[in-house]
């Protein structure tokens, strides 16, 4: 997770020895000369159920989340001003994220918490209205905002700023950016993946890695859910000991007290699994974040494929146009062309027509050269910026996942300690039998 706490600075004025949001050194991550968002404390404080009419005028129930913001320097100076706040629902977060993905195709955009509960084990409700799910989603949305706000590039975005501060009018502002039109069509992206000839090797490796990351995290989440399910069964069956010891103690004289108390400990043991597994859900959420991050990483790689592909197409187009011009100029047909065919069949055209066509071609070639220039720049910029962000992502991922693993180990240790305590207590009771 980016940060559990609410203290969050969105950017820094300094460079090298700056401690970033997560406490690590941040010197490579700050963009120079960018206009930074004012320091702001952000949190998603609450969730509430609302009812309203949706787009097709049907009654629906949905949850809204309260976003609170407060200027950081006021807090630092010891004032405690009331936070600004507004309510947003999940679909608005989605809209924000879609906007960011289109507008910053070279950034691995932080993911949102899952839309529907996946990888559930039997006890967890898959219902979106379930309070536990809503609570975990609240935390996930806060995490999303903190990650975005602490990203050196994304934090400067105006739309992000409005999202946090303008309850009404934000949606209009987003649509006004026209980002939807800029979005790459899926078909184009797909065809680029298949037909690109020389994608950058590093990006291809990264794309392959993103597939691996996705596959491994989802496997892990599934396996963990199954393990949780089974562990639940083991603990709960022990609860039966509680009942039978109690019944048995009724017919015993000296053994009765010891048995009865031991039975209580067995009940406690059986009950303890609920909290243990609830806590483990946090670990699962951390894994899920990176499952979705893998997709974001993949998207950046595919954007590279697209820019590369478009450059290749533009170059190819320019070459063929130049060839056409040559053929037209010299009259030598080197490649098959429809015009060549018709010339052969119906005879050559008149010199005025040829002149006109040559002029057209020259214009097209000039355009084409511009296009190639543009595409080259586009591609190069994307490669450069994306690579920077990918490195940043990589370091963040290594750090976050390592911490997640440590936390998981801590959780396991805590579970072991509880187990030792319960069984030691039970043993004391047995010894008194």
């Amino acid at each position: 997770m980016a940060d559990d706490g609410r203290e969050e600075s969105l950017g820094t004025d300094d460079d090298s020895d700056q401690t970033g949001a997560d406490g690590s050194l941040n010197n490579t991550m700050v963009e120079e000369g960018s206009t930074l968002m004012r320091r702001m404390e952000i949190c998603v404080a609450e969730a509430e159920k609302r009812s309203g009419k949706n787009a097709v005028s049907m009654q629906e129930t949905f949850t809204v989340y309260l976003i609170e913001t407060r200027p950081m320097d006021a807090v630092a100076e010891g004032h405690n001003p009331a936070p600004d706040c507004l309510w947003r629902r999940y679909s608005e977060f989605e809209l924000l994220r879609n906007y960011l993905i289109v507008t910053y195709p070279y950034i691995v955009v932080p993911p949102l918490p899952e839309k529907r509960a996946e990888f559930v084990w039997h006890k967890l409700s898959a219902d979106n209205m379930d309070p536990d799910f809503v609570e975990r989603r609240r935390v996930g949305l806060e995490n999303f905002l903190l990650r975005v706000a602490s990203h050196p590039v994304l934090c400067n975005d105006k739309i992000l700023c409005y999202f946090l501060t303008e309850e009404h009018g934000w949606k209009e502002a987003v649509y006004e950016t026209g980002f939807q039109a800029k979005a790459d069509s899926r078909l184009r992206a797909l065809s680029a993946t298949f037909r690109v000839r020389n994608p950058d090797k590093c990006f291809m490796e990264m794309k392959h890695y993103s597939d691996e990351l996705q596959s491994h995290t989802s496997q892990l989440l599934r396996a963990r859910a199954r393990v949780a399910d089974r562990l639940y069964g083991v603990f709960k069956v022990h609860g039966n000991y509680g009942r039978v010891f109690s019944e048995w103690s009724a017919i015993e004289k000296e053994m009765g007290d010891g048995l009865q108390s031991a039975g209580h400990h067995m009940d406690a043991y059986a009950a303890s699994i609920d909290d243990i597994l609830e806590e483990e859900e946090h670990y699962a959420d951390q894994l899920k974040e990176y499952l979705f991050y893998a997709e974001a990483l993949r998207a950046v790689c595919r954007k590279h494929e697209l820019t590369q592909f478009e450059l290749e197409m533009a170059s190819q187009d320019l070459i063929s146009k130049k060839q056409q011009r040559e053929e037209l100029a010299t009259g030598i047909v080197r490649t098959f062309s429809f015009k060549g065919m018709t010339n052969k069949l119906f005879g050559q055209e008149a010199p005025e027509q040829r002149e006109a066509r040559l002029k057209l071609l020259e214009d097209l070639i000039a355009e084409g050269e511009e296009t190639v220039k543009e595409k080259t720049i586009e591609r190069a910029e994307h490669v450069e910026k994306a690579w920077v962000d990918i490195q940043r992502f990589k370091e963040q991922k290594d750090k976050d996942l390592r911490e997640a693993l440590i936390n998981y180990a801590v959780m396991q240790i805590s579970m072991c300690k509880k187990g030792i305590q319960v069984w030691s207590n039970a043993k004391e009771c047995f010894l008194k039998m």
């Binding site: 050194l25 491994h216 069964g233 000991y241 290594d398 390592r402 440590i406 998981y408 043993k427």
Partner: protein
């Protein structure tokens, strides 16, 4: 304090306990308390015999008499110690171990070494070592049941095993069975009456058990009690025996439940183990595609594997130590209920005969036959033996279950300790790496920017 409640003493002559000769000892031997027993003051110190005639008692070494010989102070259990611990004579030690497989043309079977150490004069030698198979134990138990029907005979492990399902020669099975046989023999050897049974003697000492040769010595006596006529109905069962029966029924039920719970836990643990193993492999395969995270992920995979091992050990233990003991007690309860039934029959017979005799006396003044008195004796001895054995059994049961349940708790604690250790060493590893990385990072910064 002298003995207050009669413990089913022979009704022929209400002699004080001190005057009744132990049937197995010589006539002239004065009756003296055993070495472990405190004799309180104020008791009749007359330990001599008034006459040398051995009292006719139905069973030669009935528990009642022996206990009276050894435990003359009723208040022995007031200081909280187990009252029956001191009545063990501790002069007969037996062990069952060293299983060996025997293959012959007819069959394959396992024998166990039965070692005995004793100072008892009933044995010719102080030490014995013989080999016995399950059949021999079964023979011994049957003989004990026949010859000492008024006593609770400890149970044997189950005789029949389904050939296809259980491997009779697997290490685990043999180990479990051997432990149960050892327990059986120890319980018999510890029993103040059963341990003097000549069949036990033969079992422990004879080179070859010739099982067809019954020992005639006791069979007559045993049969007289066994052959209780069927037609007698019990009127009123004394409350203490009712309580015993009820206790046994409820206890049996609870044990059955505990057995089912334990089995269910084993099943759930086994399924958990399967998933846990898979879980570990996922971490390992993820490690393959990572660089920085490779070691942490492999570390987690290793921890999970360690936990799997610890769980496996615990489950194995439960299967081998816990469940067999439960099952054994269930068998014990069955045999005890049988003894209770026999007691009921003995009472029924006595009451029936008494009633018939009384009626005849009223009709034609026929005196009550000696037979009826004999029945009364039998019944009273039976009652006494049973009560004594019951208390013993309760005490042993308490010890056994205390041990069993603390064992179960211990195994669980050990399991969690192993897991905790594994995870703690992982954290150390991961956190060392973190500080290592930070140190390297700081170092390189200093190099670049100068101190």
């Amino acid at each position: 304090m002298s003995i207050s409640a009669p413990r089913g003493l022979a009704s022929s002559g209400q002699k004080p306990i001190t005057e009744i000769l132990h049937p197995l000892s010589a006539a002239e031997e004065p009756l003296s308390p055993g070495p472990d027993v405190t004799v309180s003051g104020g008791r009749d110190k007359e330990v001599g015999l008034t006459n040398g005639t051995p009292v006719e008692t139905p069973s030669p070494a009935s528990a009642s008499v022996l206990f009276n010989r050894l435990q003359l102070d009723d208040d022995l259990d007031s200081d909280g110690r187990d009252p029956y611990a001191d009545t063990e004579t501790h002069d007969l030690f037996v062990t069952v171990d060293d299983p060996k497989k025997h293959v012959s043309t007819m069959e394959t079977y396992i024998t166990y070494r039965v070692s005995t150490k004793t100072t008892r004069i009933e044995f010719d030698l102080p030490e014995y070592s013989v080999r016995r198979r399950y059949q021999d134990f079964d023979w011994l138990r049957t003989k004990l049941e026949d010859s000492q029907p008024t006593h609770l005979i400890p149970p044997l492990p189950e005789k029949f095993v389904m050939k296809g399902v259980v491997d009779r020669f697997s290490e685990e099975f043999v180990e479990t069975r051997m432990k149960a046989l050892d327990k059986f023999l120890k319980r018999v050897a510890d029993h103040p009456v059963l341990s003097f049974n000549p069949h036990l003697n033969a079992f422990l000492s004879a080179k070859d058990l010739n099982k067809r040769q019954g020992l005639a010595l006791l069979s007559k006596v045993g049969e007289s009690v066994k052959n209780v006529a069927g037609g007698y109905k019990l009127r009123v069962r004394p409350p203490e025996f009712c309580a015993m029966g009820e206790y046994l029924d409820t206890f049996n039920q609870k044990l059955g439940t505990i057995d089912r719970i334990a089995q269910r836990i084993l099943k759930e643990q086994s399924e958990y183990l399967t998933e846990l193993r898979e879980y570990g492999t996922v971490y390992a395969s993820w490690a393959g595609s990572e660089e920085e995270l490779q070691r942490p992920l492999e570390g987690v995979a290793g921890c999970v594997t360690t936990c799997c091992g610890a769980l496996e050990d615990m489950s194995e233990n439960m299967g081998q130590d816990f469940l067999p003991v439960l099952r054994e007690y269930i068998l014990y309860i069955e045999s005890m209920k049988n003894v209770l039934r026999k007691r009921d029959q003995s009472q029924a017979e006595y009451e029936g005969r008494l009633e018939a005799a009384v009626l005849r006396k009223q009709e034609d003044r026929t005196p009550i036959p000696a037979e009826v008195e004999k029945c009364q004796d039998k019944m009273e001895c039976f009652n006494a033996d049973l009560k004594a054995d019951w208390e013993r059994w309760q005490s042993n049961k308490r010890q056994d279950f205390k041990q069993l349940l603390t064992g179960m708790a211990d195994k669980n604690v050990t399991h969690y300790e192993k897991c905790q250790a594994a995870w703690e060493s992982l954290i150390t590893l991961l956190q060392d790496k973190q500080t290592e990385d930070k140190t390297i990072f700081h170092k390189s910064l200093h190099e670049v920017f100068g101190s």
